[in-house]
């Protein structure tokens, strides 16, 4: 099983996320993370979905997604073909932070940022690879100072020079 990242573009219509996730459900593949946002092309939404499965399965899933009428494009990538990042928020107990200097050292070692401090809690953010975030969480958790933790779905850009979608839309422009 490999971690694949599927990058998908669709028209901005209601219900398409449901159509996309239904493909995973039918094939009994769990989505590890999911990010949906507007893309650089007006009216087009971009989905970044990660999942563990076989290459055979990711091919099937990608084709089934692209088959949906209002999906413009779906492509899958392995970790070496993309730059992937996540953002995480850690809510820490301020008294722990003050008492235990190793906590601040861990935060600095991970190049995380403290963005809010008050008497009861402090908020730390980290942008990085999923494993960087895992690593910081494990370290902080060992101090017992994590009050809350959340991370966003992975986002990724491909190593192609341009968006593949732009190339697709240009080909359409030539043909129509």
């Amino acid at each position: 099983m490999t971690l694949y990242t599927i990058i998908t573009y669709s028209e901005n219509f209601a219900g398409i996320l449901n159509q996309i996730t239904a493909v995973f459900t039918r094939r009994q593949v769990n989505i590890e993370s999911l990010n949906v946002c507007s893309s650089s092309t007006p009216g087009v939404h971009k989905y970044t979905i990660t999942c563990y499965c076989t290459e055979e399965m990711v091919k099937i899933i990608t084709k089934q997604i692209e088959k949906r009428i209002d999906v413009l494009q779906a492509r899958y990538y392995t970790a070496d073909q993309i730059f992937i990042q996540e953002v995480a928020l850690f809510k820490l107990s301020t008294p722990s932070l003050v008492e235990e200097s190793a906590i601040s050292r861990t935060i600095r070692q991970h190049s995380a940022k403290i963005v809010e401090v008050n008497e009861t809690y402090s908020i730390v953010t980290l942008t990085g690879l999923p494993e960087d975030i895992d690593s910081l969480y494990v370290s902080l958790d060992s101090f017992g100072c994590v009050l809350q933790f959340v991370r966003c779905g992975a986002i990724a850009v491909t190593k192609n020079r341009r968006e593949l979608l732009d190339e697709y839309l240009e080909t359409l422009g030539v043909n129509h």
Partner: protein
């Protein structure tokens, strides 16, 4: 300034006319009433067939679409009306039938409030439609209807559901006809790759034992002529899937019969002996392949497909030839060389002889004993000169129907393949009589399936549709009983069935009926049925515990067919 505004409901009617719709099947109800009111003024152009249950409307639209090649259209109300169409929509999805189903919906202001007869139709039908859309504004009617028809019929066809809110039906709009023939996110037919064409031809030319699997894609793509040219030029024997049975005349020397669990022996066994398997417009359903792990492992596979998501889904293809098979087959013909495969083709003969002797002859020419389904099917086929449309329900009637009915013309098989929907037959046959009014429509149905949609006899009565209903009555849910016999130690759990008097039922609907018990009366009864102007119910009291053979047991290898049950 003159007021040119019309209601959304009226816009729907004009949009349907604009799409060339002439026939629609439906059932009115609360949330679709404004549209039915508009329909009242369009009765001369839009022939509305009132069914007796919404499931009947969709199956009838499917029957209409499959025999005519046009988009079938159904119109129903919200909530229960829409939910009753779900089986038919799912059936059309798996069997690639172009449909547009229009459902009423509560007013947009009530959406999500659990209003009376509100169901989340978009949510329910999302996985079983090619596209669905909720029309919440009258302004969207023309666009949505045109887009629906374009999506339903283009590329690999499929069903589209339009969920039409009541406010959108009643509000006023400046109507302007729309024509959608391009969607930037949708490529209905993949571009043909010339290299794939040439590689396919090369593989065919180098093959010593080629075998072709023909699916419904050949019919949908209107590629019967191209198929014939290719197989005749390169001498390729062919097996047809159930839905592809009439893609090639049954008596064509290269047509080696039906594939699958209850198909013919030769094409199934030799699937595992060919060196090149050429699949055209078929999807390697498990009922065709049997055990996928031993399926045609010795062969290279070429897959001609319009839908890229079918390639490598079940069977690995060494070469995919994407595109419309009418074009791709025509291209490949240019590069294939005439071949003499007579030695290979002759290998089908012993299997044909064996099956003929052990299975076919006893099924169609029994010397004694009760009437058999197989002989009824074959006689109806012969007495219609193999020119009729075969409609079946699901079960033994379907398997015997598909095995023993013979075809000379295209678009002649109307059966629920992928979904296996009991109750499909009667309404589908009604639809077929509207889709191909010049043809004879023969429905084979069991006593189980008939009762699932028996209310459509009312539609037949009202429309006087000339459906020839051949009821193969064995007082059992026969196919399930056969499986219980084979795999559940003959424990007939709820498969024997007490039947009503079907002649009386037919009589109640004013439909002529006759029952045949004895073999000697069969021909006369069939002739009476065929000569009767209008509908006819021919009840055949067939052997109760008959089995469809040969059979590949579920999960067995494709070449492990049982010819007899010991």
């Amino acid at each position: 300034m003159p007021n040119n505004k019309i209601t959304g409901a009226e816009a729907l009617m004009r949009s349907l006319e604009n799409e060339g719709v002439t026939t629609l099947f439906g059932y009115p109800g609360g949330a679709i009433m404004p549209s039915y009111d508009a329909l009242y003024d369009h009765r001369s152009t839009l022939n509305h067939i009132l069914v007796r249950h919404e499931q009947g409307a969709v199956h009838a639209a499917q029957g209409y679409a499959r025999v005519s090649g046009k988009v079938g259209c159904a119109i129903v109300t919200s909530g229960p009306g829409a939910m009753n169409t779900v089986t038919g929509v799912a059936d059309a999805m798996i069997d690639s039938t172009p449909l547009v189903v229009i459902c009423g919906q509560v007013g947009a202001a009530f959406l999500g409030t659990d209003a009376f007869q509100e169901v989340d139709v978009i949510g329910v039908t999302q996985p079983i439609t090619k596209w669905n859309f909720q029309i919440r504004r009258a302004e969207d009617v023309a666009w949505a209807v045109s887009r629906a028809f374009y999506i339903a019929k283009s590329g690999r066809p499929g069903p589209v559901v339009l969920d039409f809110t009541k406010n959108a039906q009643t509000s006023l709009v400046d109507y302007e006809p729309k024509r959608v023939d391009f969607i930037r996110s949708y490529l209905p037919v993949p571009q043909i790759d010339e290299t794939a064409i040439k590689t396919a031809a090369k593989m065919i030319n180098h093959s010593e034992r080629p075998f072709m699997l023909v699916g419904q894609g050949v019919e949908l793509g209107d590629a019967r002529k191209e198929l014939r040219e290719l197989i005749e030029k390169a001498n390729i024997p062919v097996g047809c899937t159930m839905l592809g049975l009439s893609a090639l005349p049954s008596d064509h020397p290269l047509n080696k019969g039906m594939l699958g669990m209850h198909g013919n022996l030769g094409p199934n066994v030799l699937t595992n002996q060919c060196d090149l398997l050429i699949a055209v417009g078929m999807r390697f359903d498990d009922r065709v392949t049997g055990n996928i792990n031993t399926y045609a492992r010795q062969a290279k596979v070429i897959h001609f497909e319009i839908d890229p998501s079918e390639v490598n889904k079940n069977v690995h293809a060494d070469l995919a030839v994407l595109g419309d098979c009418k074009q791709t087959l025509a291209e490949v013909i240019k590069y294939v060389q005439p071949a003499d495969n007579s030695l290979w083709i002759s290998r089908f003969t012993p299997y044909e002889q064996q099956e003929n002797e052990k299975v076919i002859e006893p099924a169609i020419h029994p010397a004694e004993g009760p009437l058999l389904m197989g002989e009824v099917v074959r006689r109806v086929s012969e007495l219609t000169e193999n020119k009729a449309i075969l409609v079946t329900d699901v079960g033994q009637n379907q398997l015997f129907g598909c095995r023993y009915f013979k075809f000379t013309e295209g678009r002649s098989v109307l059966t629920s393949g992928g979904c296996g929907t009991m109750g499909f037959g009667l309404p589908a046959a009604i639809g077929a009589t509207f889709g191909a009014p010049e043809r004879t429509v023969c429905l084979f149905v069991g006593d189980g399936g008939l009762q699932m949609t028996i209310q459509e006899l009312g539609t037949i009565m009202e429309q006087h549709t000339p459906v020839k209903i051949i009821l193969l009555n064995n007082n059992y849910l026969g196919n399930v009983r056969q499986w219980q016999y084979l795999f559940f130690h003959k424990r007939y759990s709820f498969t024997p069935m007490l039947n009503p008097d079907y002649e009386k039922i037919a009589d109640g609907y004013g439909i002529k009926a006759r029952t045949v018990v004895e073999r000697k009366d069969l021909d006369d009864a069939i002739n009476e049925m065929l000569q009767t102007d209008g509908p006819f119910l021919l009840q055949c009291a067939v052997m109760e515990e008959d089995n469809v053979l040969p059979m590949t047991p579920p999960g067995a290898n494709v070449d492990e067919m049982m010819l007899e049950i010991k």
